[in-house]
Symmetry: C2
Subunit: 677 residues, 2 copies
């Protein structure tokens, strides 16, 4: 396998991966070394929560959460910087990333993006300094991803100049709210704003929830969600409001204000567009989950690959020498595509961060760019969080029983990441939103598809945004420009072939779905909904085809920008492994639609086998490039202990065999016996 090894400089690759916000990443990684940020599974729930809160305090002390603030408030108007720094704290614990994300990204972020300057002055700086602890109370028991349907009401009472926040029935209880069970003193509460007999839809309100001693305020019931599948350090809970009064000025009123007489006004006339604009300001959550999923995948691979390079099992060549795990083809096939997907996702995430920075810094906050950011954030978050679960699980299994021990971190990491696939928008819902936008780009009638009631079906949130182009068009693929792969292309590893296969699959899916769904506009709402439902699975698959192409393009671009030949070569291997894994996964489709001749298709498996063997030869460089040390991994099996034990065993056997009375194996005795017989 050494024949394949390239001469790589992990530090150079690291600087590519660390990207434009490398300094923030280093800061996050530095924070992750502080023992306060490390959780002990033996601690009880309250201790774990207290420790996580202390780690959030350390995060505040880095002043990273202030970066996103305007200069007038002591910030630097840097948005991606904060996100990149937060992501790296996943190596300390996902509980920290999420609890900090709730405090600074959601609670602070909502005040920043939805509040006015007075509100910023009053609450925002204390929030970002970790002095005012808060929750982000959007989700309700009865409504998860369908935020528009929440039941909590905020009714304006002109007599007292107050809003009355109320939970009218159990299903409207705010649920799964981070910081709620223990720490929050206030919450940004999403509720239907009602004034003068009109419901103006969902708005955000600043609601104090506990007094200085931590006791719930009058009219507020707080429940504890207790144990979850992971994220033990995050105190999720429930809020119910019984006619809780707050001053009118607690309405975060950037997109909708009420005056003392109860008159409502908004800079955005359409209630639908207003709602989606408000939600759109909160895209940071999805951006940071995409990045967190990449970090978690890196960490898991870092642990499993180091172990796989030391651990030996089964003799293959003779009776004594055992084979190293990562020399086994199947072990390579388990871990190398995971490594390639992680690289592709990291590079795609960097592009997402760039787009996020452009929009939120104001460098390019056109509606088109904003819409593209939202589509990509939804798409990448879905794909990356599912990828992380798969990658971590493959890593855990690749480490056998040792992978199941808490001290080797893989099981805890997976347990924590599990909820990422359903929170901040359920992946399945998000992918339908992405599908809707792609269809809207493809044909105008889908931009207004909610006419038939059908838009509701694939995520009402999309309804007002489909005027803008998804990445599809922006990234240079004209949907109409169908082209068949050049069958004379000699190498299955050809980048052009991979790109063509991924693009044409998406194109055919989009045009096929458009044709199938076009009749919806003329159908009754019921029939239109039925038609959409009968294609829901394809819609989700189409959205995944879109993300896969985007990620492939990200690693293809990275490859092309390399100047060092060895580095270019390893990125090519990574790209091809990612690309051909996708082709293999969708092989049925490519063949069914005649995009790949059968003779070529049969090469894919062998080519992947060879690519995995090649990548394995540089596996250590490729995980070194993640920039983590033993103190980030904190996994016993990744410390070299396995090699030490093997050396001890080997030394024992060497000594023992040198002794005259070393027991002869019965098998050998029999062999000798039969030979002399």
């Amino acid at each position: 396998m050494n024949d394949f090894a390239l001469d790589l400089d992990p530090a150079a690759i690291q600087s590519i991966l660390d990207g434009a916000w490398a300094d923030a990443r280093h800061l996050g990684r530095q924070l992750a070394l502080d023992e306060t940020t490390h959780l002990d599974p033996a601690d009880d729930l309250e201790t774990t929560r207290a420790n996580t809160l202390a780690a959030v305090g350390l995060m505040a002390a880095t002043e990273l959460p202030l970066a996103a603030l305007p200069k007038s408030l002591g910030g630097t108007n840097e948005h991606a910087r904060t996100v990149a720094g937060f992501e790296e704290t996943v190596t300390a614990s996902p509980s920290l990333q999420i609890k900090a994300g709730v405090q600074f990204g959601l609670f602070g972020g909502a005040i920043l993006h939805l509040g006015n300057p007075d509100q910023h002055a009053q609450w925002l700086v204390p929030a970002q300094r970790g002095e005012l602890l808060g929750s982000f109370a959007m989700t309700e028991i009865g409504h998860g991803s369908d935020v528009a349907a929440i039941g909590t009401t905020a009714t304006f009472d002109a007599q007292t100049d107050e809003f009355v926040i109320d939970t009218p029935f159990t299903a409207a209880t705010k649920e799964y709210i981070g910081n709620a069970a223990r720490d929050a003193r206030a919450a940004v509460v999403f509720a239907q704003l009602i004034t003068a007999g009109v419901n103006h839809g969902v708005h955000a309100f600043f609601v104090p929830v506990r007094d200085a001693d931590g006791q719930p305020l009058s009219g507020i019931t707080i429940d504890d969600d207790g144990f979850k599948g992971g994220l033990k350090g995050v105190d999720n809970g429930r809020f119910a409001f019984d006619q809780v009064r707050i001053p009118r000025t607690n309405l975060l009123d950037r997109y909708g204000a009420v005056d003392a007489e109860g008159a409502y006004s908004s800079p955005i006339d359409s209630p639908g567009r207003r709602f989606f604009t408000m939600l759109g300001t909160l895209v940071q959550g999805r951006v940071s989950l995409d990045g967190a999923a990449v970090v978690a995948s890196k960490l898991a691979l870092d642990i499993a690959i180091r172990y796989g390079l030391e651990r030996k099992q089964f003799t293959t060549v003779d009776d004594y020498r055992e084979t190293t795990l990562l020399d086994y083809q199947q072990h390579q096939r388990r871990l190398m595509p995971a490594l390639a997907a992680t690289y592709a996702s990291a590079l795609a995430h960097e592009k997402l961060l760039t787009s996020f920075e452009e929009v939120f810094s104001g460098a390019d906050d056109s509606e088109e760019n904003r819409a593209l950011l939202e589509t990509r954030a939804a798409a990448f978050k879905s794909d990356s969080t599912w990828m992380a679960l798969d990658v971590i699980q493959e890593c855990r299994e690749a480490c056998g029983g040792a992978g199941f021990m808490a001290e080797n971190r893989l099981v805890g990491l997976r347990a924590d990441m599990d909820v990422y696939v359903t929170f901040e928008g359920d992946n399945t819902v998000l992918l339908q939103l992405v599908a809707k936008r792609i269809l809207g780009d493809y044909a105008k009638e889908f931009a207004h598809i909610d006419v038939g009631g059908a838009a509701r079906f694939i995520g009402t949130q999309a309804a007002e945004h489909t005027l803008y182009r998804t990445g599809l068009a922006n990234a240079g693929l004209a949907i109409s420009d169908v082209f068949t792969p050049n069958l004379s292309e000699r190498r299955i590893r050809s980048g052009r072939l991979q790109r063509t296969l991924l693009e044409s699959r998406l194109e055919v899916m989009v045009s096929g779905l458009a044709a199938a769904l076009r009749p919806a506009a003329k159908l009754s709402p019921e029939k239109a909904a039925e038609l959409f439902n009968s294609h829901q699975h394809e819609l989700v698959e189409m959205a995944r085809a879109y993300v896969e192409l985007e990620k492939w393009k990200a690693i293809d671009e990275a490859m092309k920008s390399q100047t060092d030949p060895a580095q270019e070569k390893v990125f090519r291997r990574l790209r091809d492994t990612y690309g051909l894994s996708l082709v293999e996964k969708h092989m049925g489709w490519h063949l069914m639609y005649g995009r790949l001749p059968m003779s070529r298709a049969r090469q894919v498996g062998d080519t992947l086998n060879r690519l995995c063997a090649k990548l394995a030869a540089n596996a250590l460089d490729l995980v070194d490039a993640f920039g983590y040390g033993d103190d980030h991994r904190r996994a016993t099996i990744a410390t070299g202990i396995e090699a030490e034990r093997q050396a001890e065993a080997a030394a024992y056997y060497r000594r023992a065999r040198a002794q005259r009375d070393y027991p002869v194996p019965e098998k050998q005795l029999k062999r000798t016996g039969s030979r002399t017989a």
Copy 2:
């Protein structure tokens, strides 16, 4: 969707699923109702372990563990009965199943199968009554699935008539041993038996490890593995032995004895065959994990489907009525194939249990039957435990945030089942063992493939067993009998087409691998090992193709044996969903090898969509048939609470809308406004 609903009797389906050992299953389910068997995530490690031990005591009190004993010891020589009963305790907690499995199945089982009548009299009955707590100390830090390579030694000292048990180096420490950290007073320890200067290979020894007060005996170091990814109730730990002396009579000597002079004798001459015979007696572990995986999958589906039938999200048809989750196509596509796979696996497991009973009761314990049992156990265990992880995860995600709450059990169930895929033989290793046996059936040269060192590569354990036929030949498929699917077959749902596709895929894979690997016999050990390694991925895939076919045949047979037309129809839907899911998964292969015309292939997706919609119409019946009640599910979301909350919300909105001052939505106001304009 009601158009599709069949008139089913869940009780009748239950009796099919409960099978021949229904009474034992009922006993296990009854036990699972006892609160002692339920673990609380809030308990600390030691409390959880103590409670699990108490539950093991209840299990002993049922006397199920005695059933496997010979009549002379008060047993009934019933083997599958015990296993079936144990499996059902997964609904209480997988910790109970595993801790009981260690105590009665592994510790007791080893004494039963490897010990002599004196040893049975002394240790077996106390073990099965839960009075003598024990461990099964096989795995070592340095060697997981490769048991033949363990380093622990048991050297006979004729002077004192004792064996000296020793851990010569750290890697030989017994690791992940259940019951070790807290409860075991004795252990069956596997070690290299050395006498008179000869190493006779791995044998089992009864070794006391703690005194009556629970203190480790002299020379024995016991460590605690602490927290794991799951199975919190099982006290896994490590044993290291420093020249620990036990009487000669503590060797479990059914397959290898040492007399007072130190002379070794065995009823099995070949050391290899002896080793595999000993291990073969312990197949019960894999059989019961297969069944446990089925029970865990049933439980998860029971919870998620009940919730999916109540939970509503997003309005589709109008502004008010929300759609039930299980009416969404994608939700059906997530859960119905999982349900079908669980049914197929349950029915296949029943066949495995029957074969297990035949072999162990002595009704048919021919070597051929025993080998077939071992192959199937390895194959089914691998496939079912991976299936369980996928099914539980799909169920957890299908329940959104609620699925992540510990109180809804899905996350805990998955965490506990995680290790099933790597213990009692790592799935990847087991599947290579299965592949080796299939190849051995196919061509004689592979029966002795270890000549070239290549057998080591795909699991040395197989080396001595390949004289026997795997299920392949037994089940009626002559490998040479290749036939192309009848392309004129009109319906893609045709059972004959499905069977042909699954069979011919396996056949082509087997013959292709045989042709590719045949040169190994003539190569140097190094080159032969390299050749095998370059096909390892295909070997694993081929073994999976074998299991899939076996499971498909099990549900096909069940369908054919139904007399009630509705029941026959629902089993047909389950079979087709399972079969076509497999065809879809391997579509690339079927097309690449010209087994399925493209026009037919394109029907598979739509056909699956329709099948899933049909199955969804009877989803409640199909989970009712699992035979679990609220007290087995113990999941808040599966109690009807969601429907209650929705009814409360609906009643609130009805009342509110009836009031004159109910706020008008701004959107509606605008619509009215524009209409009047």
